[in-house]
């Protein structure tokens, strides 16, 4: 066939002498896309989503296997933990009804703490002689595995529903959120080795700064898994507060603050925490601000704000910016290098905002895995 003298006008034109067969070549796809466009898009999108879901499934499997392997290796178990772990992974939490929001924070706090206490006690029953340090590690690994399992189940459910109904619009939100979900899931999977080895994570920068300030001071447990140390700085009393390390916990800083403020008059609260950086912001950059810098489901922040408001205590914050992945995986060099700078800024903040003879509470917020005091 000679392709050199093709008459494009005859092929794609709309004149009387146009070949009707050739007109079909471009009219047919238009008709096809009008009637079956969404279905074709559904197939194309489905193949992309399937890859993501397959990855989520492998993360779920991997985290579960790593947890079981860790338990078998590090805990003296009387029974095979597989069945018990399978049960734990499927545990769900039903959040309280919020139709009437009055008292919702206490209800949420109660539900979440009840779940934590239950998990802790039941893990302890697997190996009664387990240390608190190991127990906190296992509890965190369990949380990771159970979160990955939940993510996989929800995403897979949304995908299969859309496929079952042949409903393309239903698959669109899934396609939009999947990259964000994958980022979180990859971060969680990558966090496992750090928690297993008891290494500090990016979120631990607050406890790291306060832990170093506490080193030479006498310490006491002031609330569940939360340590308090008292020291002086330029005629001011400093109450240093952080979760009890080096176990993997965030402690209960609000309960601790309640104890401190009921015993002593506090003139300022300074919170040091990791904060999620915005796209375009430099990782490990330090920023100062006002208000309670603390993440989580919001119950701790609510309580801290309530205490500060009722006692008219100003709350200042210093945050170290980082990505989701950096916050829960092994601390990067850049974040670790900010510790001295953050510490210097805390002392500067104390000088700027308080007078001699006043008292300040300094809270190192975050997971204190691998960070003692």
């Amino acid at each position: 066939m000679d392709f050199t003298n093709l008459d494009f006008d005859q092929l794609f034109g709309m004149k009387d002498d146009t070949n009707p067969l050739m007109m079909l070549v471009w009219i047919l796809p238009i008709i096809l896309f009008v009637f079956y466009g969404q279905r074709i898009q559904l197939y194309v999108t489905s193949s992309e989503l399937k890859k993501g879901i397959k990855k989520l499934d492998s993360f779920r499997e991997e985290s579960r296997d790593e947890l079981i392997e860790y338990l078998k290796k590090n805990m003296k178990l009387d029974v095979d933990p597989v069945k018990k772990i399978e049960q734990f992974l499927d545990y769900f939490t039903i959040m309280p009804v919020d139709m009437d929001p009055n008292g919702i924070v206490d209800k949420v706090q109660h539900t979440v703490r009840a779940r934590e206490d239950y998990t802790r006690e039941h893990l302890k029953s697997l190996s009664p002689q387990i240390s608190d340090f190991e127990l906190s590690k296992v509890q965190t690994l369990l949380e990771i595995a159970s979160s990955l399992q939940m993510i996989y189940k929800i995403i897979n459910h949304m995908f299969l529903t859309a496929k079952k109904q042949n409903n393309y619009p239903l698959i669109l939100p899934l396609q939009m959120i999947l990259p964000f979900i994958m980022e979180q899931a990859v971060a969680m999977k990558d966090a496992i080795p750090a928690f297993k080895s008891g290494q500090p994570v990016g979120d631990g920068i607050g406890p790291m700064v306060v832990g170093k300030m506490m080193l030479e001071c006498p310490k006491e447990i002031v609330s569940f898994q939360t340590v308090l140390a008292k020291t002086d700085f330029e005629d001011r009393t400093l109450f240093l507060l952080k979760a009890e390390g080096p176990g993997s916990t965030v402690g209960r800083p609000a309960d601790a603050l309640d104890v401190i403020t009921s015993d002593s008059k506090i003139d300022a609260i300074i919170m040091i925490d990791a904060a999620l950086k915005m796209e375009g912001e430099d990782s490990a950059s330090i920023a100062r601000g006002f208000g309670a810098a603390i993440g989580g489901i919001g119950t701790e922040r609510f309580s801290i704000e309530a205490i500060a408001t009722s006692k008219k205590i100003p709350v200042f914050s210093i945050v170290v910016k980082q990505s989701v992945s950096e916050a829960i995986t092994l601390m990067t060099k850049e974040i670790a290098d900010t510790a001295d700078d953050v510490s210097a800024q805390v002392y500067e903040m104390i000088q700027e905002n308080t007078l001699q003879g006043q008292s300040v509470v300094i809270i190192g917020v975050g997971n204190t895995a691998g960070v003692p005091q």
């Binding site: 995986t329 990067t332 060099k333």
Partner: protein, 58 residues
């Protein structure tokens, strides 16, 4: 298709409280921040673990 596998290596930085000398070495199991580590190469004083961090290689 072209994504490279990233490997994160953990490091421990020890600092001597007397001569302020720092030493970076690979993280060893049992290393905990602020704990006493090895003897300082320059003055013989016990060093303290100052930092534990990861560096990513592509």
């Amino acid at each position: 298709m072209f994504s490279k596998k990233k490997i994160t290596l953990a490091y421990t930085v020890e600092k001597c409280s007397k001569c302020k000398m720092t030493k970076k070495r690979k993280f060893a199991e049992g290393d905990v921040l602020f704990s006493e580590s090895s003897k300082c190469n320059s003055c013989g004083e016990l060093t303290m673990i100052e930092k534990i961090f990861g560096e990513t290689l592509e």
